[in-house]
């Protein structure tokens, strides 16, 4: 399930964490919330960020079967 978790500290600082995304789609998903809340202080990419989205993997696999040469 794709979710965005926002934790707002008692001082009012927000930490936005995307879950369930592969690749850079997570950045696109959270961009609107980030812009609405304020100024980005830091960004940490996790291992899932560097995974290929599932749709791209399927496309590459199908391409292999249709081109036997």
């Amino acid at each position: 399930m794709k979710t965005i978790e926002i934790i707002v500290s008692p001082q009012g600082e927000a930490r936005i964490e995307t879950r369930g995304y592969a690749g850079a789609a997570c950045q696109e998903a959270s961009r609107l919330l980030e812009a609405a809340l304020g100024v980005r202080q830091s960004e940490q990419l996790t291992s899932a960020f560097f995974q290929q989205p599932l749709t791209v993997q399927n496309h590459l696999s199908a391409g292999g079967h249709t081109n036997p040469s």
């Binding site: 979710t3 965005i4 926002i6 964490e17 809340l37 980005r40 202080q41 960020f49």
Partner: protein, 122 residues
Amino acid sequence: MSHIVTIQTEVRCRESVTAACRRLRLPPPTEGTHRLFTSEATGLAVALPAWRYPVVCELPTGTLRYDHYGGRWGDPRQLDRFLQGYAVERATLVARRSGHAVHEEPIADGSIRLVVQMEGAA
């Protein structure tokens, strides 16, 4: 998870300021020019509990103008509380307007967690 971003909150949305005041049971914010001891500030003023002068939100720049005289004229934690309420209301407003469900829950350390359901999003 795939990425984590930390955001310094800026107060730029009138509707979310009003919602934060409602959440914290503060008087509705008032627009105008307001005195801050020896200076003045123009914008949307929020009256925090037991603060001598208001916090004035300059929405176009996201700047907050206030004078609590090192805490003598107002507890800075009240300002933190307002900023937290504002950020929660702002994020909730934006997420819901984008068609997403939002679940809110308090955390033991005083933080507030929002979970935005993105499934089915474009």
